[in-house]
Amino acid sequence: MASVTQTPVFVRPESRLRRVLRRLARRRVSLVAGAIVLCFIAMALLAPLIAPYDPTKASFMLVRKAPSAAHWLGTDEVGRDVLSRMIWGARSSLLAGAIPVVVALLFSVPLGVISGYAGGVLDMVVMRVTDAMLAIPFLIVAITLAAFLGPDLKNAMLAIGIASLPVFVRLARAAAMSIRAEDYVEAARVIGSSHLRIAFRHILPNMLPPLLVQASVMAAAAIIAEASLSFLGLGQQPPAPSWGSMLNAAQRHMAAAPWMAIAPGAMIFVLVIALNIFGDGLRDALDPKRR
C-alpha cells in the first residue's frame, strides 16, 4: 500500500488592504458610487478643457436663455453658461468636501488619541468640551464661524472643519480607548515602548478604519454645508462659480428661469448620495464582524 505524504501548503495571509478592496469589489453599488465620485473629481480637474464657455463671462444678450443646442443647460441671470459654471463649480464643492475633513482629522485625531489613551481629568475636560460643541447644530456653528471670519471659500472650509471637530474627537477617543485594552498594546507597554510610540505606532494605524468611514460621511455633509454657506452668501463669492451660489441666484429667478435650479442641485445630490453609498460600502468592508 503506497503511503501518501501530504506536504503542508503555506498560504501567505491576505493583506488588510487587499481584503478590504476585495470585499468592496463584491458590492457593485459601492463600486458604482466610487466611480461616480471619481467622475466628479475628473470633471473638476478637467474643467478648463471640458467647459464649453468661460464660467464668469456675462453677456447681456444671453440673459436667462432656456436650454438650447448652444447652451445645453441654458444661461443664468447675467447670461453666463450654466453648464460651464456647473462644471467649474465641482472644484469648490470637492475642495469643500476634502479640506474640512483633513482639517478636522489633523486636530481631532491627536486630541482624541491623547484623551482616550491618557484618560483622567484631561479626558473628562475634552469630553465635556465636545459635548458642549455637539449641542450646537453643525450648520449653525459653520454659519456663525464663517460669518465672523468673513465670507470667503477658505473661511467657509475652515468653519466647516471646526464644526466637524467634535464628531471626529469622539470617534478617535472611542477607538483609542478600545485599542488601548488590546493585548498587543499591553505587550508593547511590557517591552518598554514609550507612550508616544504606543500612541503613534500601535493605536493610530488601528483606528484608521472607523475614521475613514466617518471621513467619507463627513465629506458628504461638508459638501452640503459648503453649498448651504454659498447659498447664504457666506462661501464662494461671485462671480466664481459654486453650486450653492448658483442655487441662490436660481431661487430669485425661479418663475422665469427654472432650469437654473435643476443642474446645480442635482450635482450636489448625486455627489452626496454617491459618497454616502461608498461610505456604507466601506463600513461593511472594514467591519470585522463581516469577515
Binding site: 447644530p137 449653525i140 456663525t144 465672523f148 448651504s228 452668501g233 442655487l247 425661479m254 448620495i273
Partner: protein, 315 residues
C-alpha cells in the same frame, strides 16, 4: 428611586456641559476678528464714542469679568439688546421660538408618519424588492440637499400648480387655514430628511427585534404575523427610535436655517441668518446659546424617555 439616580446623573453631566457651552459662546464673539464696539457704533463713530460704548457695555473690563457679567445677565434672562432693531434679545427669541416650534412639530409629524411605518415595512419584508426600494428612499431623503428640495417643491407646487404659497408666515390665530397651508412645503422639506433617518433606524431595530427569542416564542404560540410585528417586535424596536426622534427634534429647533430662509419664515433660522449678515452679535450669541441649551434639554428628555419606555432599565 432608580429613576431619580438616573436622572440626577444625567443632570449632573448636563450642568458642566452648559457652563462650557456658555464659555464657548462667549468666546465666539470676543476672540474672533472685529470689534464689537465698532459694530455697535458703526463705521462713522469717533474714538471717544468707541470708548463710551466699551465702558457702557463693560468691554473695557478684563475678559473673565466680562464673561461673569454676561453669564450673570444670561442667567436672569437678559441676553442683551439687538443692534438691528433695538429690542431685547430674549424677547425677540421668545417670539421666534413659537414659530420655529410650530414648524418643528409639523415636520416631526410628517417624519414619524412616513419614516416609522416604512421602516417597519422594510424590515418585515426583509430581502425583498420592497426592502430595497425603502432603503433607496431612505438614502435619497438623507442625501438630498434640503434647500434644493425646497426650491423644487416651490417650483412644482407654488409656481406651476399654485397649490401652496411659496413663502410668508401667517400666525395661526389670524387665519388657521392660511397658516397651515404656509407650513406644508417647509414641513415636507424638513420632515423628509428626518423620515429617512427614522426609516433607517426603525428598519435595523426591527430586524434585530424580529430575530429575537421572544418573537420566535410569540410566533410559536400561534399569534398572527401582524400581532407579532406590531405588538411584540415594534414595541421593543421603538425604544431606540423614540430617543433618536427626540434628538432629531432638538436639531430641528435650530437646524431649519435654510428652509426658513427659502420660505421666508421668521423663525430661529431666519433670525440667525439676519443676525450674522448684519453682524448683530448679541442676537447670534443669544440664539446659539438658547438653541444649544434647548438641545441639551431635549437630549435630557430623550434620556428620561429611554428610561421610562425601556423595561430593562427600570428593572
Amino acid at each position: 428611586m432608580r429613576f431619580l439616580i438616573f436622572f440626577g446623573q444625567r443632570l449632573a453631566l448636563a450642568v458642566p456641559t452648559v457652563l462650557i457651552l456658555s464659555v464657548l459662546v462667549f468666546l465666539l464673539q470676543r476672540l474672533l476678528p472685529g470689534d464689537p464696539a465698532l459694530a455697535m457704533g458703526g463705521d462713522e463713530i469717533d474714538l471717544q464714542g468707541l470708548e463710551e460704548i466699551r465702558h457702557k457695555y463693560g468691554l473695557d473690563l478684563p475678559i473673565h469679568l466680562q464673561y461673569f457679567r454676561w453669564l450673570g445677565s444670561a442667567l436672569v434672562g437678559d441676553l442683551g439688546i439687538s443692534l438691528r432693531n433695538s429690542m431685547g434679545v430674549t424677547e425677540l427669541l421668545l417670539g421666534k421660538l413659537v414659530i420655529t416650534l410650530q414648524l418643528a412639530f409639523a415636520s416631526m409629524i410628517i417624519a414619524v408618519v412616513v419614516g416609522i411605518p416604512l421602516g417597519v415595512l422594510a424590515a418585515s419584508r426583509h430581502g425583498t424588492w420592497l426592502d430595497t426600494a425603502t432603503s433607496a428612499v431612505s438614502l435619497t431623503s438623507i442625501s438630498i440637499p434640503h434647500f434644493w428640495l425646497g426650491i423644487l417643491l416651490v417650483l412644482a407646487f407654488s409656481v406651476n400648480l399654485q397649490w401652496f404659497p411659496s413663502s410668508g408666515y401667517v400666525p395661526f390665530w389670524e387665519d388657521p387655514r392660511r397658516s397651515a397651508m404656509g407650513f406644508v412645503l417647509p414641513s415636507i422639506v424638513l420632515g423628509t430628511g428626518i423620515a429617512g433617518v427614522l426609516m433607517r433606524h426603525t428598519r435595523s431595530a426591527m430586524l434585530q427585534s424580529l430575530g429575537a427569542d421572544y418573537v420566535r416564542t410569540a410566533r410559536a404560540k400561534g399569534l398572527s404575523e401582524r400581532r407579532v410585528v406590531l405588538r411584540h417586535a415594534l414595541r421593543n424596536a421603538l425604544v431606540p427610535v423614540v430617543t433618536l426622534g427626540a434628538i432629531e427634534f432638538g436639531h430641528l429647533l435650530a437646524g431649519a436655517v435654510l428652509t426658513e430662509q427659502i420660505f421666508s419664515i421668521p423663525g430661529f433660522g431666519k433670525l440667525l441668518v439676519d443676525g450674522v449678515l448684519y453682524r448683530d452679535y448679541a442676537v447670534v450669541q443669544g440664539l446659539v446659546l438658547v438653541s444649544a441649551v434647548l438641545f441639551i434639554l431635549v437630549s435630557l428628555t430623550a434620556d428620561v424617555l429611554y428610561f421610562v419606555i425601556n423595561p430593562r432599565l427600570r428593572g
